[in-house]
């Protein structure tokens, strides 16, 4: 036990790393040699009083207390993209701590508040489950890249070049920086 209820493997490791994401207009991307993933929606923000710059997290409103702070980001991503949870083929969720993944999945509506644990334990996040999560290993099992490789993995899934490829992956949710305000997120898609 490190800090109840978190144990050693509930924490990500510290890593040196380097990776990049190239963003171009859709028109330009069509002429490049790699298959593009399109940004269907992107959002950054946090609910009112969420985190208060971390120093006053303990006074945030009850509705967001046990959350990753993505409630308003989730609403905006679904609104901007016109998609819903049933459209998502996978999710790459910032996972510096295991608990934040569960709470992010709750914020994005994949399960009810407080049900993240049972939802994960039931196998829903596995490669053969309805919502494969962090097929690259994430911060916990690949490297602590502050979420950047989550973007790369979403692009690989859409291109069909991932090591743990999900057959026919088209729409992938990318969830950034869980916990501090502002949080962020993206929906990437292969459909155009």
């Amino acid at each position: 036990m490190i800090a109840d209820p978190l144990r050693l493997f509930d924490f990500c490791m510290e890593s040196d790393y380097g990776c990049a994401v190239v963003i171009a207009s859709a028109e330009r991307a069509r002429d490049l040699q790699h298959v593009p993933a399109y940004i269907a929606a992107a959002s950054a923000g946090a609910p009112f009083r969420f985190g208060n710059a971390l120093m006053s997290f303990y006074n945030q409103p009850d509705v967001d207390f046990a959350s990753s702070g993505h409630r308003v980001v989730a609403d905006e991503l679904y609104r901007l993209s016109g998609m819903s949870i049933s459209d998502m083929d996978a999710a790459m969720v910032y996972d510096h701590f295991t608990g934040m993944v569960l709470m992010a999945l709750e914020d994005f509506g994949f399960c009810a508040k407080g049900e993240g644990g049972p939802y994960a334990a039931a196998g829903n996040l596995g490669l053969d489950g309805p919502l494969p999560v962090n097929t690259h290993g994430g911060n916990l099992a690949e490297a602590y890249t502050h979420g950047m490789t989550h973007v790369n993995e979403a692009v690989r899934q859409i291109r069909g070049t991932a090591i743990n490829q999900i057959e026919g992956a088209t729409n992938v949710l990318v969830v950034g920086g869980a916990g501090p305000a502002p949080t962020s997120g993206m929906i990437l898609t292969g459909a155009r």
Partner: protein
């Protein structure tokens, strides 16, 4: 540093937070209150999150509240906490405020199995040295209280 946490830096009072630490040094708990709308808030800030007023003062509080949440830390985050052994980090919600006021603190005089959400607690103070002007400062801590 404080009596209970000699290896850690003590509070550094500034124009916004100073009244809180200095009151604690006198053995009193105070909470910032908006002069315009009466909302209590913590930690001390310059602007009211309800009405945006810049006018505020300190309101005395009897130091009673309940445990809102907690964790037990089995490994000290810094060496200065090592002598505490396994210690808790707790959030206490104060009774009787206008708007929710929660304080990040530690509950003392409690066994691991006895610290639960909703536990009634009362404030006490951990002396934490003095300012350059010689005024004492302290950390508000909490301990279980009997409920009549």
């Amino acid at each position: 540093m404080s009596d209970q946490m000699p290896g850690l830096p003590g509070p550094a009072p500034d124009p916004t937070t100073g009244g809180y630490w200095l009151a604690a040094g006198r053995g009193e708990l105070v909470v910032q209150v908006c002069s315009a709308c009466g909302t209590h808030r913590h930690p001390p800030t310059e602007v009211c999150y309800v009405c945006n007023s810049l006018d505020w003062t300190w309101a005395p509080h009897d130091g009673r509240g309940t445990v809102f949440t907690y964790t037990w830390t089995d490994r000290p985050v810094v060496p200065g906490l090592a002598h505490l052994g396994v210690y808790n980090v707790s959030v206490v919600e104060l009774d009787g405020t206008t708007g929710v006021v929660r304080i990040l603190t530690r509950v003392t005089d409690v066994e691991r199995d006895d610290l639960v959400v909703g536990l009634p607690v009362e404030v006490h103070f951990d002396p934490a040295g003095a300012t350059l002007d010689g005024e004492g400062v302290a950390l508000p801590l909490f301990r279980p209280r009997a409920v009549r």
